[in-house]
Symmetry: C2
Subunit: 195 residues, 2 copies
């Protein structure tokens, strides 16, 4: 039961961060939503809010990274993998009534100056996702240069589509982007055209 409270706090923090950003998420919100006892906060997280935010972001990032990896592994082609990941994101958005999204974007845009560890974490997440895509593309026979640019395009447009999906409360932007990305990646593949 010890780690239970701690874990619940992290999960709640991750959820609120994605919904309202760093400045929009207060410790009171976290305590209330997680039902965690007030006195436990600085016991489990002596570093206060910043430590909690960092751990929550790291957890959410790891989850997203794993989902992307699985989507790429389970797909026949990287093009289909990209699309599958985007569709999964769309499902989550619908399920959560458009309150979630990317774990790093809200934190980045909240400009938590001074929190270099958090900034590094976000940058590293983007780097990891990019690397996963790049590797998948190269393995499918796409030239390195091209794979590089494509990976960036994929991450950028999914990131942006998540924002737009939030604004519209509608997944059309995400699914349309997913289809476009699938086509773009497929067009870069060397052989084996789909009938």
């Amino acid at each position: 039961m010890a780690k239970d409270t701690r874990l619940r706090m992290i999960e709640t923090t991750a959820r609120l961060l994605q919904h309202r950003g760093y400045h929009g998420t207060s410790l009171n919100d976290i305590l209330q939503e997680s039902g965690a006892p007030r006195g436990s906060l600085y016991f489990h997280f002596p570093g206060g809010k910043d430590q909690l935010v960092i751990e929550a972001t790291r957890a959410a990032v790891d989850e997203a990274t794993e989902a992307l990896r699985e989507a790429l592994v389970n797909a026949k082609t990287p093009a289909q993998g990209v699309r599958a990941y985007a569709e999964t994101a769309a499902d989550i958005m619908r399920e959560t009534d458009y309150t979630f999204g990317c774990p790093v974007a809200p934190v980045i845009l909240d400009a938590t100056a001074g929190l270099t560890e958090l900034a590094d974490l976000c940058r590293q997440a983007l780097e990891d996702w990019s690397e996963l895509l790049r590797k998948s593309f190269v393995e499918a026979g796409i030239p390195k240069r091209r794979a590089d640019a494509l990976a960036l395009l994929v991450i950028s447009s999914i990131e942006g589509a998540l924002v737009i999906t939030r604004a519209y409360r509608d997944c059309r932007s995400l699914t349309t982007t997913a289809a476009e990305l699938e086509a773009a990646v497929a067009a870069a593949l060397p052989q084996q055209r789909v009938t």
Copy 2:
């Protein structure tokens, strides 16, 4: 000198909003950075912070819309127009030391629930930008369906690239995306291949 204070407050607010989001921007910050007198705030903006935020966002959105329109008008092809706009955005990012970006993304991700007027404003902005692109694409001979999807892809990926550019403090993501988008739009054009 009357409207001067008011205008300066709006500009400062727009700047801070893009940098730190809704919750991260306090009235004290705005007053300090704009040098505006404390007593003037609720005189010029009886609606308080919300009114100020809405007006600032509207101003920033209008500016971005105008920039996009001009980029599309001045370009030979919509493909070049898209790229030109993205390059302009990259210039601004560099000039402002990566503190700015899209006027609506930070507000959207801050989930200012209840502020329906602000949410509507952001949605309308995305709609306007999409419409500008769509029209430009259709006029260049791209089929309506295709123009629709392309416009969404362009906005999504620029939006996302701006976030990533902020994280990296480097415009590579934005310029690479710009090149990819130019190619994607160019490929959809019916005739007249560039030598």
